[in-house]
């Protein structure tokens, strides 16, 4: 007798992933018949996976799969985020790869599954597999316009930088394994927190940071981002900007944010000198964050292609998110998650507008947008919303997200005030290039006043993003509460584990 209920319990932590994998396996078969049907099918699969994830979160489910993957509020929230990225990208993909619709959606779904697995990973092996699943499928997606030289150029650049980052990660991982003797992320962090830094420890940390810095496009590892985003098909650029980037940050949260929290926690309960060990590391992150913001924003000013401009703005946004790693508190993580969610809507919306207009034959240079307010008033207004949200103008969601994020860095000891100052000045700089797009659309006279009509699925996707940007801006409470619950579940669970593990190794003297 097959134990069906037992099996369902067994796979529940990976239920959303399994739904998407099954859909990805079926997609090429449907793609043989009709492209539109595949799109609809994949969106339904994504929504179904979202409902399952939402239900599991709502019931407060916490589960583990073989000690490799875990489902808790944090992984649930991140899965919801990646699934909404997947659905938005699927909605804007109707024009891409007409001949290979099934394969396109299958790759997209598998890449999303990889990102979700990274969030759920409890172990270095599962983290590595998830990371590579997301990466290798992303190469293929970037190269999807087979006969476009720009697409293949972007794919080669992406392949080489990603391959290099994987190699760095794996080498750093092997050294870390050498001096911790464990593959479980929690145990690795515990050992790293209690060991005094040696040379091999430093090498391992530097190599690991370098490996992941490629993923989140921190300077000096950012050069591939604009090239790849410009050359790749626009939906894939969107996917990389609002999905893949977040995955890199989740890895940073899993390794370094938890390391900082572990060190502070241990210095509270046991070893007061522990906090000194990571002091320099936090400053390294602070410098990287400041440099990334400045480079991203200053270089974005001189861009003429809108996709490159958005790519540099993505780099700048990574700089803002790095603040979370410097501060290293639970509240900072919650605001970081909030910023990520908002970023999906505002940056995703801007990319969708670009894709929708490109599908109607408009160029991808900023100057092509002259007089857009006459040619497509609603789309131009949506673009205005996204641009102002990205710049951080109240009452849009971008302002709220930046406000929470920057305020989390204002701690009583005032260590990171300078970083907040840099971030605020950079926000002001960024207003220049975002407002330039708005000025081009609304003030400049276009050569033609022919109307542009965009197709239905684009309209729906733009509407979702615009509504998300406005609603979260006006009424951020519930979303922030979920983010706080997620950060609390993740860090609180880790601290409990840490306390037990520590007192098992060093029993308190009675």
């Amino acid at each position: 007798m097959v134990d069906i209920m037992g099996f369902i319990d067994y796979v529940t932590p990976l239920a959303p992933h399994l739904i998407l994998i099954i859909a990805a396996l079926v997609a090429p078969a449907i793609g043989m018949k009709s492209g539109k049907a595949t799109e609809v099918f994949m969106i339904i699969a994504g929504v179904f996976a979202m409902i399952v994830t939402g239900y599991l979160m709502w019931t407060g489910y916490v589960g583990e799969f073989e000690g490799l993957y875990q489902f808790n509020t944090f992984t649930g929230l991140m899965s919801l985020l990646f699934l909404s990225v997947f659905i938005l990208v699927a909605m804007m993909s109707s024009a891409e790869g007409r001949k290979h619709h099934g394969e396109y959606f299958a790759l997209l779904a598998v890449s999303t599954v990889g990102m979700m697995l990274v969030c759920a990973a409890e172990d270095m092996i599962s983290l590595f597999v998830g990371l590579e699943l997301a990466n290798i499928t992303a190469f293929a997606l970037v190269a999807f316009k087979k006969n476009d030289p720009r697409s293949s150029e972007a794919a080669v650049k992406f392949l080489i930088t990603s391959g290099l980052s994987t190699a760095l990660f794996l080498y750093g991982m092997s050294l870390v394994y050498g001096f911790t003797g464990s593959m479980s992320i929690n145990e690795i962090i515990y050992h790293m927190a209690v060991t005094d830094p040696s040379v091999s420890y430093m090498v391992a940390i530097v190599v690991l940071i370098a490996g992941f810095a490629f993923k989140i496009s921190v300077i000096p590892f950012h050069a591939w981002v604009p090239d790849v985003y410009e050359g790749a098909p626009t939906p894939v650029s969107t996917f990389l900007a609002i999905g893949s980037k977040k995955m890199g940050f989740v890895v940073f949260f899993k390794l370094f944010l938890l390391l900082f929290i572990a060190v502070h926690f241990l210095s509270q309960i046991d070893d007061p000198t522990a906090a000194m060990r990571i002091h320099e590391l936090q400053w390294v992150f602070g410098m990287l964050a400041a440099g990334t913001m400045i480079v991203g924003n200053v270089v974005a000013i001189s861009q003429t292609s809108i996709k490159r401009m958005l790519a540099y703005s993505t780099i700048a946004q990574s700089g803002y998110l790095m603040i979370v790693l410097c501060v290293g508190t639970e509240y900072a993580m919650a605001t970081g998650l909030f910023y990520m969610i908002v970023h999906v809507f505002m940056k995703g919306g801007a990319f969708i507008v670009v894709a929708a207009l490109a599908a109607r034959g408009l160029g991808e240079n900023i100057s092509d947008y002259k007089g857009l307010s006459k040619r497509a008033p609603l789309v131009a207004f949506a673009m205005l919303l996204f641009m102002f949200a990205l710049a951080g103008i109240p009452p849009l969601a971008g302002f709220t997200a930046k406000f929470f994020l920057f305020s989390s860095a204002v701690t009583p000891d005032g260590t990171w005030i300078w970083l907040v100052a840099v971030a605020v000045i950079n926000s002001a700089i960024s207003l220049y290039y975002y407002a330039k797009v708005v000025k081009t659309m609304y003030v400049d006279k276009g050569t033609t006043s022919e109307r542009i009509r965009i197709s239905g699925s684009f309209k729906l996707a733009i509407a979702i993003c615009a509504i998300g940007t406005i609603i979260i801006g006006l009424y951020p409470g519930p979303v922030l509460e979920i983010c706080e619950a997620a950060a609390n579940a993740y860090i609180g669970g880790f601290k409990e584990w840490l306390f037990d593990f520590h007192s098992e190794l060093f029993p308190p003297i009675p």
């Binding site: 092996i125 590595f128 590579e132 190469f139 030289p149 003797g181």
Partner: protein, 100 residues
């Protein structure tokens, strides 16, 4: 038993050769091979640590990473082949359409 330092030295040398190759060579296929050398340096580390540890964990990781590297190279070669068909060159210094 061979001391573990020698393994680590070997892997460090291999890693450096691979990294140098990625940075200075301009042929796409050679760069891909250099990345493989770097991955294998990490694998040597894992195997060296595994031989000094009772757990099979590191060996499992090596098998997983070999499989993943094979998949990566498969997709990578396909992309380079496509780039070659479009522009008749695997030299990545020629990839200059996208800049600034």
């Amino acid at each position: 038993m061979i001391p573990i330092e020698l393994f680590l030295l070997l892997s460090a040398v291999l890693f450096s050769i691979g990294l140098l190759g990625v940075l200075v060579r301009s042929n796409g296929i050679v760069i891909l091979m250099c990345i493989e050398i770097m991955l294998n340096a990490a694998n040597i580390n894992f195997i060296a640590f595994a031989s000094h540890s009772p757990e099979p964990l590191a060996q499992i990781f090596v098998i997983v990473s070999i499989a993943v590297a094979a998949a990566e190279v498969g997709v990578g070669i396909a992309i380079l082949l496509r780039a070659y068909k479009v522009r008749k060159s695997t030299n990545i210094d020629d990839l200059t359409t996208l800049r600034w």
